[in-house]
Structures are given as C-alpha cells and as structure tokens.
Amino acid sequence: MANVTLRNVRKTYAGGFEAIKGIDFEVGDGQFCVLVGPSGCGKSTLLRMVAGLETITGGEIDIGGRVVNQVEPADRDIAMVFQNYALYPHMSVYNNMAYGLRNRGMAEGQIKTRVTEAARILELSTMLERKPRQLSGGQRQRVAMGRAIVRQPKAFLFDEPLSNLDAKLRIAMRVEIRKLQRRLSTTSIYVTHDQLEAMTLADILVVMNGGMVEQIGNPLDIYQKPATTFVASFIGAPPMNLMPAQSDELKSQLPSGGAGILGIRPEDFVITRENVPDGVALDLTVEAIEKVGAETFVYGSRQSVAQGVAANPGELPPGEVIVRVPGAVGPAIGERIRAVAARDKLHLFSSDGRKRVEI
C-alpha cells in the first residue's frame, strides 16, 4: 500500500556508460505500472534499482514516502519475481515461501497461516512439500509469486516473469497476475519487452528507449496518440506504418503540405477503388499475405517509392506498407490495390520523429 516515486533517477556505470538518463514517474497506490521497451533500453536496470540490487547514481527513489536510495533490498519492503523464478532448488515449496519470513524472525505459526493462505490463492496447496524441480514451469512461476505475496510488501516488482513460459501458459498467467494484483491491490512495477503484455496489464504504461522515457500514460492513450515515432512503431503489432510525408504521392494529399513523418496503423486502412475526399490514399502492389483467421495482413509495396532495406531490425523497409483486413478474404499476390485512411486516423511526427504534430 504505497506510492513509488522516481525523481530524476540516473545510473552511470563505472566505465562512464549512462544506462538510465534521468527518469521521473510516479506509480500511485495499488496501480499496476508496466515498463516496456526493446532489450537494452534500461528497463530491467531501472527495476533492479527500485529493488536495491543496483546502486542509484543520481536522483531519488521513494517507496511509500521514504527515500530508499541507501536502503538494503531486504529493508525496502518490496518483493520481486524473477524471470527464471530463482526458487531455492533444495527447499520445498513451503520453505521457499517461508524463507523470507523466517529471516525476518516471524513466528512459525504466523508463517504457516500466511503460506497456507498464499498457497490456497495460487492453487499450490497440494504441492507444498514438493521441490521446485518436481513442478512444471507454470507452477514454479506461481511459487515465485507466492514468495512475493506472503511478504505482504509495499510493492511487487516483476522482471519479465512470463518470458520462460510457452505462449498459451503466458496468456493464462498474464490474466492470473492481473486478477491477483487487483485483488491484493498492491502497487506493482512490471518489466516486459512484450508490447501485448504491456498493453493488457498496465494501468500506467512507461515506454522506454535508450535509457530514457519516450512516453508515459494510459495504454490506450499511448496507442491512440503515440508521442514519438519510436512509440508508434513499438506499441501495436504489426507496427504502425511510417513514411516520409514529403514524397510526391503524399504531399498533395496532406493539409500540412508534406513535412515530417506520416504514420498510419495497419487497421486504419480500408482497401477500396474509390477516392476519399479527406484522407490519404496509397497505391500498392501486394507482395505477401498472412492469413491469421480472424484477420488478414496484406504486405504491399508502394508503387511511387523505390524499395529499400529496413534501417533497423523489426522495422519495415522503406516503401513497404502493412494493411490489416478483417476476416480471411483479401487481395491476391501481385494485385494492385488502393489503401485509404481517413484524415482522423493519421499521425504526423516531426521529421526527427521525436515530436507528435497535431494535424
């Protein structure tokens, strides 16, 4: 039951590398905050700084009204769930959960009450005497959660807790974590590189890149109004189509007269033969089609733009556009189509991609 506040937090390693370049945000009492970003963006480092496993070289971290910069991890009143669970392999499930309480000198009777209660919530009651190696991945995950719950800490910290699970279990556990957190209403910070996890779990989403915050906000707000091109392409799958607005094809269609970078989400396109009066139309040649069942993704290349190679992995090559079509019916490969997006679906960014421009 506490706020977690970061004030201009920085981390510079001994070698001079600046991993965290001044981060401010506040997680309110009981809120679920998700830190999301590509690998190497500093999100795990930041979480470990909150946990006390990494030193803080600048700024302040405040948990429940107390600045914890110099406080040992055990005394910060937090609990952490690790990516590889970090269960004690030689201890039973019961002892794994009880260990932290025993170290705090809690009475054995009270420990028993808490562990039994946590085991009941997590459906581990029949497995208390087993060793971690006798459990499945999902069960180990739940033990790790149980170890965090029994402590009744001010904040839960999750470091990519689901990435070792298979896809199906990941979704199930995602829902479970969210339900559990609602029920206990404990302030939580959750690190992931999976934007879908981030969107579904977060009350507050913090998108990070290169040791800095790109955008903070409600996940849907971020999806609908990304502040930078980085956020635009990182949040949402498949990513938002981004293209220079000053090309011949686009210049005449845009009210701004064609400056900066234009972004359109794949689902905001409509394939049509007609011209729309107020919006953007792109002439595409269909290169590839992915049918997922409920929807179909059409990969087209723009006829007016020379094709190239993607600048960064995960980005679209210049001239390529993804269009999402509902259902399983789509154009054929090689077909020429026109994809149209209405004016209110357009996103415009400054030409360095760092700023959103209202149309």
């Binding site: 946990a51 006390g52 496993l53 040992e72 952490m80 970090a86 004690y88 030689h90 190696r133």
Partner: protein
C-alpha cells in the same frame, strides 16, 4: 547405432577381463601372501591359494607388530592415518569453500589478483616448499603432532578452483532473491550455497581423503616417534630391515589393511555421486 555382433562382444569382454586381471592380480597376490607364514612367502614359490595363517597374521599386524623389528602395531598407524586424512580432507573443503566464496561473491580490491595467486600455488606442490614448511612447523612445535600432519596440507588451490567453478554456475538471481528475502552473506552461504554444494563436497572429499591417506614424504619428515607414524610409512619401514628377513606376510597384511579405508570411502561416497548425477537440475 552400433551394430550388435556376438564376436565383437566376446573380444570386448576379453580385453576388459584382461585389464581387470592385470590390475587385480598384484592385489590378489598381496592378499594370498598375507595368509601364509613367513617361510612360505620367502620360500621362492609363492602359492596362489590362501594359506591357514590369515587370522594369526592379521592379529599380529594389527595388535602386536613385527616380532623381530619391534614396530608399532598397525592399529595405531591406522588411527593416525585416518585422523590425518580426515583432517586434511575436511580442512581442504572448509578452506577452499570459504576462499571460493570470497573470490566469487565479494567485491574487494585485487579480487582477481587474489584468485590468481591462489591459482598459481597449484604449481607449487608440497615437495617444492618442503624446507620452509618444515621450518615453520618445527618453530611452531608441531613436529610429531596431528596438527603438524594436517595443517600444512589443507590449503587447496584445486578445491578453490572446483568450488569457484561450481559457484559460478549458480544463477545470480538466487543471490538476489536471498538478498530480498533478508539473508545476509552468512545466511546465504549456510542456507543456500552449502546445501547446493553437497555433491561437489562429496567429490572433493573422496579425492582429498585419498590424497591425505597416501601422503608419504611429509609424514616421513615430521614424525619421529613410532606412535605418530601413518600406515603408508609403516609399510615401508616393515620392508626396510638391516640384518634380518623382512616379514613379508605382515607387510602384505598391512598393505591390505591400508587399502581398505580409501576403498570404503569410494564405495560409500559413490551413492552421493550417483544422487548428484540424477538430481542435477538447478
């Protein structure tokens, strides 16, 4: 898949049997020799079947000692050997675990240097540093004591290296989870590292117990009283006689007795090894 042919099986078994025979025959011979009287053994025609002097020979070796050369009985030597081998093995485990713990988990200046200095001592066996070690032990008045037999031998670079390698395979998150669970350095060592190290400890114990048991040069140097002799030296002294026949039957009985404790350690510890192999998942 290897093709299964009876002929290749027969050849393989023949080679293996030959190997076992070559290794086991001298041991068998020693066992046989320890069951005959002195005259039969030195007579030039060594029988290949057991004689009737077994109880007599072993009783004399263990409790009385050689008649003519008035040696210590083997019982005392066995006790000496056992104490020093056990002390060396346990001491080595204790010291090397602590030093590996320091080198792996603590950040202190010249940590790497400390590790390399330990590593370099691998190249300095007892024989190389025997004079200064002898001087130190003599000055500390530890000649003819168990401490003198044990202490100079318990520093172990091999053990430190073994534990260091093992500790480095333990995931970092386990230490971090411990820190968040409020376990300090000592608790982490005692509650987590030690239980996880059991199989490594068992492996090191077997190796080092046998190392300690087989020590020859060092006990020979620092023990002067017969009552402090170890069994390995005892065997040698039984054969080294000036003007009379060596009592081969007693020497062989002693040799057999000297072999038993290391064999017992290996046999007993093997169960731990197997358990360690089956339950490797961390």
């Amino acid at each position: 898949m290897v093709e299964h042919r009876p002929l290749s099986d027969i050849i393989a078994y023949a080679i293996l049997t030959l190997g076992v025979f070559i290794v086991a025959f001298p041991v068998y011979l020693a066992l046989i020799a320890s069951t005959h009287d002195a005259a039969t053994v030195v007579g030039g025609r060594m029988p290949l079947s057991p004689g009737d002097q077994m109880l007599e020979n072993y009783y004399r070796a263990v409790f009385i000692g050689g008649a003519r050369t008035s040696r210590e009985p083997v019982a005392q030597m066995l006790i000496n050997s056992f104490i020093s081998a056990l002390g060396i093995a346990l001491g080595k485990i204790f010291i090397s675990m602590l030093s590996a713990y320091a080198v792996v988990y603590f950040r202190f200046p010249f940590r790497k240097t400390a590790f390399w200095i330990i590593f370099v001592t691998l190249m300095l066996p007892v024989e190389v540093r025997i004079y200064p070690t002898y001087k130190v032990v003599a000055d500390l008045k530890m000649l003819d004591t168990y401490a003198g037999l044990i202490l100079p031998l318990i520093a172990s670079a091999t053990g430190t290296l073994l534990f260091r390698q093992f500790f480095m395979t333990i995931p970092e998150e386990l230490l971090e989870a411990s820190r968040i669970d409020g376990a300090g350095p000592f608790r982490f060592f005692w509650d987590t590292l030690l239980p996880l190290s059991v199989t490594t400890i068992a492996a090191l114990f077997v190796i080092q117990f046998i190392y300690g048991w087989n020590q020859y040069l060092w006990p020979l140097l620092i023990t002067t009283q017969d009552s402090m002799q170890t069994i390995v030296i005892g065997i040698k002294k039984m054969l080294y006689t000036t003007d009379e026949l060596a009592e081969w039957q007693l020497a062989m009985a002693t040799a057999i007795l000297a072999m038993l404790p290391p064999v017992a350690v290996v046999v007993f510890m093997q169960r731990l090894f197997v358990r360690g192999l089956v339950e490797t998942e961390k």
